[in-house]
Subunit: 125 residues, 2 copies
DNA sequence: ATTAAAATTAGAATGATTTTAATTTGAAAG
DNA sequence: CTTTCAAATTAAAATCATTCTAATTTTAAT
């Protein structure tokens, strides 16, 4: 693995916070001042292609990066907050129900996070 | 509903092809030359907000718009082709499994469409 | 030490979408 | 039929995450 590739992978793998490319860049710069943002994008893309990390796109915000291990996500409808959720692997069930061989799936559960629910209640809804 | 709002809704609702804003724009211009692309975006956003249509984002391509009726999607890993698939409503099941109240979910089944599979076979994979 | 391929860099380019500010439209009220 | 005012529309500029380009540097193999 390349000089920056390894470090970037470690940052994403270690993080439970679904960092954006910019956030990975900022963290990497701590150890490697002078690294270019393009390098971060290059490596994130390469790592995704190799299946070593994955990309999580949430409507209207920059792409986020996540460890490869299988899990799904809760997305707050209001603020976009992203949280991991561990559901069993649904591939077989979905394949059977859809009647088509599938390679994988992308499942996001839309909810209201604690903060946003509280904010709503205060406004009296 | 507004002058263009209704037409744009009809275009999206009638289409089974998941058009992009540009494609809606092109179709609308047939009947209404002089309409602005910004108007299409404004109305698509308004209609989404009202729940009368929905937006489908596929990694690396412009957003697509879709009728509101509940259904899920197959997305070709290779070419991005988007196809409807009718699965039963999984909200309750997912809510139970996740242990959190959810408002909705976004499920994409990743597969290889017929064309892409054929292309692969020709190349001998 | 030589080479070639791959990685990195800085900065420009891209392109879908949003924003802005001005103009037009359309419905309700007088 | 006017007046009025909010909402819709327009054209153009702005945004901004991401990709691309071309030049440079690093790496690993020979």
């Amino acid at each position: 693995m390349t000089k920056y590739g390894k470090k970037i992978w470690e940052i994403v793998e270690a993080s439970r916070g679904h960092p954006t490319a910019e956030q990975v860049f900022d963290e990497l710069r701590g150890a490697c001042p002078g690294v270019a943002l393009a390098t971060v994008y290059n490596n994130l893309n390469r790592l995704c292609g190799e299946g070593r990390i994955r990309k999580v796109s949430v409507e209207g915000m920059p792409d986020r990066y996540d460890r490869a291990a299988r899990h799904d996500h809760l997305v707050c409808r209001n603020c976009g907050r992203l949280t991991d959720v561990d559901l069993e692997d649904l591939t077989e069930e979905l394949e059977r129900k859809a009647g088509v061989p599938i390679l994988a799936y992308d499942l996001k559960l839309i909810y209201l996070c604690g903060e946003c629910r509280k904010a709503r209640e205060k406004e009296g809804r």
